[in-house]
Symmetry: C2
Subunit: 205 residues, 2 copies
């Protein structure tokens, strides 16, 4: 198909598709003349994926790295998870991670050097909350840890055993795309819990 059909089928405008091509987020089409190229359904799927990654808040460079990992995955799910997590947290500033590591020890979680990106991210987030005059209490943090650990087990258990390609896709995309879902669900859960504690009036019609 031509680039115009790619645009109408994906819902992504032609100039944006050209941007994806320039940024090597999308592989080039097959040239049929010096100024025309043909694209296939692989391009269509890739465009939807690129749009989802960028809309989820990844930078162009991060999206390119995630795609490169999908195209040429490292060996094994564990390695892939660790490199993906590092990538997503590569912007985390260096910071004192002592308090964060103490938490991990208290929870009995394995502290793998390959996860120093997320550890720095946690340390930084805790520091920010404290700086804002909102130090987090241990019982709330422990409740967060217990809930996330249960979820992680559900997620890890649903990684397919029989298809490495599918497992990789699951790990990379699940890491990126589930975050906005989780945050939205958290907000709605708080609305529900608050309306129960504070005994809201029925919503006006």
């Amino acid at each position: 198909m031509r680039i115009s059909e790619l645009a109408s089928r994906s819902g992504v405008r032609v100039p944006t598709i050209k941007f994806y091509l320039r940024e090597h987020l999308l592989p080039p089409g097959r040239l049929t003349s010096p100024t025309q190229a043909q694209y296939d359904t692989g391009h269509l799927a890739r465009i939807r994926l690129v749009r989802a990654l960028l809309t989820s808040g990844l930078s162009v460079a991060q999206a390119r790295d995630v795609l490169a990992r999908l195209d040429a995955p490292p060996d094994g799910v564990l390695n892939l998870m660790a490199t993906t997590q590092q990538l997503l947290t590569s912007g985390a500033e260096p910071t004192d991670t002592f308090a964060a590591e103490e938490l991990l020890r208290r929870w009995g979680w394995r502290v793998d050097p390959a996860y120093d990106g997320p550890v720095r991210q946690l340390a930084r987030a805790l520091q920010l909350a404290e700086d804002a005059g909102f130090p987090l209490e241990s019982d709330v943090l422990d409740a967060y840890a217990a809930a996330m650990r249960t979820l992680a087990e559900v997620e890890i258990a649903s990684i397919p055993d029989d298809s490495p390609a599918e497992a990789l896709r699951y790990v990379v995309l699940g890491g990126v795309l589930m975050e906005p879902v989780l945050l939205a669900i958290r907000r709605l859960a708080e609305g529900d819990a608050a309306s129960k504690r504070y005994g809201a009036e029925p919503a006006p019609e």
Copy 2:
């Protein structure tokens, strides 16, 4: 204190403090001469708060709105929560919310019109995942909902009953500052769960 002392005590540079002043994120100091102003510890606390809000990913306009709500809170915790959630999700594009509303009904959660921002955010996040070829399975979503509902109860229960000012601070800052903490904990929980399922070798020294 002078602006230079404010900078050294807060760790925020003078040009950044001037930017906060210009953007009305920080109230002006008390003028002691046409070109000099004095600041107090209230300014210091506010600078730390502004930095935390901006570092958490809020835009300047969103931070200004959050601060305005803290300074002149609406009546009641429920109203404050709803307006804060609306504010944080005001960028969510209009989208078909049918699937998201179906989920809320299945979970038995109150769907308050005041929460249409988070509902749109959930709908959009689900759509993005599906567009990327990664539709979310019901059992994973149900597990997320159950975990977030439990956490919300812990959080709502820890909102102080006796101090409205403290309750408001808790709701606004907790909403913004806990998100990065939660995401970091989720990543670490996944690393731990994965290393247990896939039987990681001990990390190399």
